[in-house]
Symmetry: C2
DNA sequence: TCGTCATATGAACAGATCTTCAACTATGAG
DNA sequence: CTCATAGTTGAAGATCTGTTCATATGACGA
């Protein structure tokens, strides 16, 4: 039984799981760092000002959730968004919250539960 | 100093905060329940199969984060998404994760590191 | 007023989570 | 082989968070 139109409870759990991973400031910063070109662990650590160990722990979770993908190149391991869909999803979410609301109107005036 | 192109650390924290709230399955289901018409607490509790008390606790957090908005009507209190921007944001995020990935390919096939 | 329904709130507990530290593996250079 | 660099992993601890239970508040009807 779905709790809302057009989404199953299972999907809700999957959705919550992604949100939970992105819900930690440190981990989110790690993900944001990977939005551009593939980047190695020590660079992520430097940019985010987090310890390499902590970054690695976060990366493991993000990898397990298939949000990030790893690729070894010599001694270093480079991380990137797992695929195009994940990149779209995260980019859009970031844009939504970062922007002060732009294309708003379409149905701005509707159901208003009486006073 | 921003950790990624086009987003400040403050925005990242704000973003993480929203994700964190949406990252709990129960709380997410509460939010999803409010996507449609304004709905009262006991109905949310029924639909989500959560105790009224727990629902109320979650609603308080969601209200504080300005994700939901409350409106009293007699003995009942109805909840809705706080504003159109929040509705867009959440609707889009749900759509992104709910859909089985649409425009995927472009870079789907490539190296696989992990041994 | 009293009683009841609808919500809200506070305390308390169990379980999860972030972070650190130390130790470990893997790769490449000399 | 030995060493240094890059990353990973596990244990441990402090903190946070979700949930429940009991109690309180607010609103309406009798």
């Amino acid at each position: 039984m779905s709790v809302s139109p057009s989404i199953t409870d299972d999907q809700a759990i999957e959705l919550a799981d992604m949100f939970r991973l992105l819900g930690d400031p440190s981990r989110l910063r790690v993900v944001l760092t990977c939005l551009g070109a593939p980047i190695c662990v020590s660079d992520i650590a430097t940019l985010t000002r987090l310890s390499p160990s902590l970054v690695s722990h976060h990366l493991r979770l993000l990898r397990a959730a298939r949000i990030l993908r790893a690729e070894r190149l010599g001694k270093q391991v480079f991380y990137t968004l797992a695929d195009h869909h994940v990149r779209c999803t995260i980019t859009d979410m970031v844009a939504h919250v970062a922007e002060p609301a732009e294309t708003i109107d379409t149905d701005a005036a509707d159901v208003n539960v009486a006073a």
